[in-house]
């Protein structure tokens, strides 16, 4: 009888422990309730060919990035996190020589160009995805989102949210370095 009386307490402690553990993980950025596992990891990156934001006569095509490890960053001037992230992307492109292709998603191209002119351009090229078709094809559901694509054109990582120093060091850098070493 005594042991039985302890059951609710044990259950409570177990649940409290579980909640504490989960909450801690959420605060550390894991177990993000909005995170949707991408079905693309390990698959060939979807192809597209749409006008370049800065040179509308030219087309942006990921096939041009074959043989390089590159990042595809989906952004928009309407997305506050993207403004915050922009400085770090500049740092990655200028100081670390990271290849980044931008996708200006559901945006007014004039505003997009204005933002790039004002803050600088970390991108090798920027796809002007006003209709949101590239975003749908890549399974994007928020901005900023960043993909890592390897030399064979295979998606290796999808990250939802702004990249900063910590995120780069933990999630991207080891992977990018490893992929760089592969054929």
């Amino acid at each position: 009888m005594k042991a039985k009386a302890l059951i609710p307490l044990v259950l409570f402690l177990l649940l409290a422990g579980l909640f504490f553990f989960t909450l801690k993980k959420i605060n550390q950025g894991e177990y993000n309730p909005r995170h949707v596992p991408s079905p693309f990891i390990g698959k060939q990156a979807p192809a597209f060919s749409i006008p370049d934001l800065l040179q509308p006569g030219k087309k942006v095509d990921p096939a041009a990035m074959r043989g390089k490890v590159w990042l595809m960053n989906v952004w928009g001037t309407w997305c506050p996190e993207c403004w915050r992230e922009h400085g770090y992307l500049l740092h990655l492109a200028k100081d670390k020589g990271v290849n980044i292709v931008g996708v200006d998603w559901r945006d007014d191209p004039a505003k997009g160009r204005e933002m790039i002119a004002k803050l600088g351009n970390p991108f090798l090229m920027i796809a002007d995805d006003q209709a949101g078709n590239v975003a749908i094809d890549w399974g994007v559901y928020g901005a900023p989102e960043t993909f890592v694509v390897d030399k064979q054109g295979i998606i290796r990582l999808k990250y939802e949210g702004a990249i900063n120093e910590d995120v780069w060091r933990e999630r991207f850098e080891p992977l990018v370095r490893q992929l760089e070493g592969q054929p």
Binding site: P39, G132, N133, I136, G139
Partner: protein, 154 residues
């Protein structure tokens, strides 16, 4: 006069606001329309995750509705469109996830909980029954009680 004018103005404003959110689609046949309606009801908006495409007015939901409409109009079947969405957004885009290894617990969970509930109920009821039996009297006790109740008061 003034309140009437004001309410008319408010009504006009409300109608204008609503008019911007309604999309008009024309379908070749009622079957396509039925597929479209069914799909936007069953596909999840990934921005406001507890709404389906039909309910959500998020921009992504608008885009996905447009995509669904385009595919339906192009004569794609329901399974093809669902496969297209799952390929891009994973099973999460479906409000009714498929039964497979990873979703097994999701599907079986409620039944497991129900079974546990029945088990506990069964145990409790049986225990109560047993506790009541503890009060049952032996023949000897019964006779004594009878004697006490029926017998003369001293």
């Amino acid at each position: 006069m003034k309140p009437l004018l004001l309410s008319l103005l408010l009504l006009a404003g409300a109608m204008a606001a609503q008019a911007t959110t309604i999309e008009i689609h024309r379908f070749e046949n009622p079957r396509q329309e039925a597929i479209y309606k069914k799909l936007i009801d069953e596909l999840r908006c990934l921005v406001c995750q507890n709404q389906n495409l039909a309910d959500s007015n998020a921009e992504l939901a608008q885009d996905l509705r447009r995509k669904t409409y385009e595919m339906v109009s192009a004569g794609k079947s329901e399974t093809e469109i669902v496969a297209y969405m799952v390929e891009r957004y994973g099973d999460f885009v479906l409000y009714r996830p498929p039964v497979k290894g990873i979703t097994l617990f999701l599907w079986a969970g409620p039944f497991i909980l129900l079974a546990v509930g029945f088990f506990v109920l069964f145990r409790v009821v049986r225990q109560r029954g047993r506790a009541q039996n503890d009060f049952a009297l032996t023949d000897e006790q019964r006779a004594k009680a009878h004697e006490l109740l029926e017998g003369d008061d001293r």
